[in-house]
């Protein structure tokens, strides 16, 4: 056919034209095909989602309520996704309120509503300028600790701001035995700062530790500072005249026990942080945190049985108004001490995760030129990372470092090999020097 010859002459082999095209195309398409594999997965997701919607609409009636009326009295709570903005609107009354240019056409009234508008604009502006602020190369969340910590701070702030928007509900529902709000307004205002800051610092320290940074210099001031602040708070409760209140004095023993359960793990953790190596801190903080948690839960279950419900009410009336210091500090302090001293699973597995399998290391590897197994497709780097082939790839490596030299991501593969071999030797030594 003339047209076939023209096609071959003009199109095939030219850049931009595949040798086969159209439905006849048979060249290899690697990866998971769209159909039927990925399409099946997508349809399962779609059907499951639709089923959930049908289920919810069948069993949970959407709210309608009475018709609108200008004489609105009951508390209105907007949908959950707007609560953060409403919380910012409510907290805005802490800002100074004044009027600029009074009487002129450009009068600007800096009232709570205007401050609330401005506060709600802050997250929007932050999101808009984000890609122009963060121009770093790292994309993995664990490798960008500052970005990840800031993101978690944002999520924590959304939660605390949403919580503040329903402050009336909180004040009505949880009351201490003398009728006062269990979580007063001031405590909830501090929620805007304390929990997000704790979340941010803790996740930053934990993520840096994941990259094998020694985090003592961060941990010591952080955990010791939290312990110190907590000690000051406890001292203030017991020493100042109005700290505990006359009505709570009969319950000073259970209150003291509760504070001890919360404070003791912090003291122990801080002490070992100053004195002991990481392994000890890790173990002690695990035990202190675990025992503190179990002890506190057991205490709240046992106390009403032993001393009556009023006792628990008075204990909570001391703990909850100071929730930021007395509850969040020990929680985050012990958790951070554990996260900041824990041993990440393996040095080079963390770095080897960057590998995108370009295969350059395999091409230059001298072992693959002589070793029989290697000629049969053994890839020293990949197979030893995956702990395959009975350790042959691990022990045939010459540690010549040719692979690291060509690696586009600069992964020091021979360091990994030596570390893995050292681990095996350590295990053998621990077994008394005998072979495994």
């Amino acid at each position: 056919m003339e047209i076939e010859r023209v096609k071959e002459k003009i199109m095939e082999g030219r850049p931009g034209f595949p040798r086969q095209y159209g439905p006849q195309r048979v060249d290899h398409q690697p990866g998971i095909p769209l159909f039927p594999q990925e399409a099946t997965r997508d349809f399962v997701t779609i059907f499951l989602l639709t089923a959930i919607m049908f289920f919810l609409s069948a069993f949970v009636t959407p709210f309608l309520g009475p018709a609108r009326s200008p004489q609105l009295s009951e508390l209105i709570v907007p949908d959950w996704y707007l609560l953060f903005s409403w919380g910012l609107l409510k907290v805005a009354d802490i800002f100074p309120q004044f009027v600029l240019g009074k009487g002129t056409p450009l009068e600007a009234n800096f009232n709570a509503a205007f401050w609330g508008d401005l506060l709600s604009g802050i997250p929007v502006i932050a999101l808009l300028i984000l890609p122009f602020l963060d121009r770093g190369r790292e994309t993995r969340p664990a490798k960008a600790p500052i970005r990840s910590a800031v993101g978690l701070v944002g999520i924590a702030s959304i939660f605390t701001s949403s919580l503040y928007s329903i402050r009336e509900v909180v004040a009505q529902r949880w009351v201490s035995p003398n009728g006062a709000a269990l979580i007063p307004d001031g405590t909830m205002k501090w929620f805007f700062i304390i929990p997000p800051a704790l979340v941010g610092l803790t996740s930053y320290i934990a993520l840096r530790r994941l990259a094998f940074m020694p985090m003592r210099r961060w941990l010591l001031p952080y955990v010791a500072g939290l312990t110190l602040l907590m000690a000051v708070q406890i001292a203030w409760i017991f020493i100042t005249p109005g700290g505990l209140g006359a009505e709570a004095w009969p319950f000073v023993l259970p209150i003291g026990i509760a504070l001890f359960i919360l404070f003791a793990p912090m003291v122990v953790t801080t002490f070992v942080l100053f004195k002991q190596p990481d392994t000890v801190v890790r173990k002690v903080s695990t035990w202190a945190g675990g025992l503190g948690l179990v002890g506190f839960i057991a205490f709240t279950i046992v106390l009403p049985v032993v001393a009556g419900r009023a006792a628990l009410g008075w204990v909570l009336s001391v703990l909850w108004p100071n929730m930021n210091t007395l509850v969040f500090f020990p929680l985050f302090g012990v958790l951070t001490a554990w996260l900041g001293t824990r041993r990440p699973y393996s040095t080079y597995e963390y770095l080897l995760n960057e590998c995108y399998q370009c295969g350059k290391c395999h091409t230059v590897c001298p072992v693959t030129k002589v070793e029989d197994d290697a000629l049969g497709g053994l890839n020293l780097v990949y197979n030893s990372f995956k702990k395959q082939h009975d350790g042959v790839p691990l022990w045939t490596c010459l540690a010549c470092d040719a692979c690291s030299a060509v690696c586009p991501l600069d992964i020091q593969y021979s360091d990994y090999i030596l570390e893995e071999r050292a681990k095996v030797h350590a295990r053998m030594a621990a077994d008394g020097g005998r072979k495994e």
């Binding site: 931009g16 639709t50 309520g65 200008p70 707007l82 056409p105 509503a113």
Partner: protein
């Protein structure tokens, strides 16, 4: 026109032939196919095919959140069209025979919930799909943030996404103003007060968005109905097409 004598074959030929000769789609469809193939861009190709993936990252399950938001948007469109046949966007206050304060919008909601066949479930689907869509959009944004997918060259798509997030919240807000119940009244009051708090343009802004500087006249229902069913869908559909088109052109962001 030649005939085969078989009426079944002739019908198809004559009818489609008549349409084809007046609306010649074939050359254009063929042209598209040729363009796609010469560019070696097969449509569709899965993410795993495109990047020759051999390993699965543990964050991949979260890569479906944008798709979930899109599916929810489709469900919202279908159920919204159905609800639109029965909803009356009139929030003016009136007193019924027994002396209670009602309005036509709220009464039409009662009719949808109690009298229209499947109206109850259609409104339920619209309600829950809206919640799922907003949650999915927010979680999708979190995924993009934590995997650093907004970095060069995807800054523009991130900005589009932020605008879409805000428009989705606007969809939600305008949607729950429509039933003209107590919640609608309270939320409209908050919205009007927030608009009026802007210096200088406050009242003008409130009149533009809500039709009035308070909720007495009930005209805010009509305003937000038209925003909810025409303006916002128009903008959001266009932006979603752009957003997904950019993802298709630039590829899914990989944590390399």
């Amino acid at each position: 026109m030649s005939t085969t004598g078989d009426i079944r074959k002739d019908t198809g030929r004559s009818v489609f032939g008549w349409i084809k000769s007046r609306f010649p789609t074939v050359p254009y469809a063929d042209l598209t196919r040729v363009v796609l193939e010469t560019d070696q861009r097969q449509l569709p190709r899965s993410h795993a095919e495109k990047y020759e993936l051999k390993t699965i990252w543990y964050w991949y399950p979260l890569y479906c959140l944008g798709g979930i938001a899109f599916i929810a948007f489709i469900v919202l469109t279908i159920t919204g069209i159905l609800l639109g046949f029965f909803y009356v966007p009139d929030g003016r206050l009136e007193i019924n025979a027994s002396g209670d304060l009602t309005n036509p919008a709220w009464r039409s909601m009662l009719i949808i919930m109690n009298d229209i066949p499947f109206g109850f479930i259609i409104r339920g689907m619209h309600h829950w799909a809206a919640h799922i869509m907003i949650a999915a959009v927010f979680l999708h944004m979190c995924r993009v943030y934590f995997t650093g997918a907004y970095k060069k060259p995807r800054e523009l798509n991130w900005l589009l996404g932020v605008v879409l997030l805000l428009l989705t919240l606007a969809f939600g807000y305008s949607g729950y103003l429509l039933p003209a119940n107590n919640l609608s009244e309270g939320a409209a009051n908050i919205g009007i007060n927030m608009s009026r708090a802007s210096p200088v343009i406050g009242d003008v802004l409130a009149r533009l968005l809500f039709g009035d500087i308070n909720t007495l006249s009930g005209v805010y229902i009509l305003r937000f109905y038209w925003l909810h069913v025409f303006i916002l869908p128009l903008i959001v559909t266009g932006l979603i097409v752009l957003h997904m088109g950019l993802v298709w052109l630039q590829g899914v962001a990989e944590p390399h």
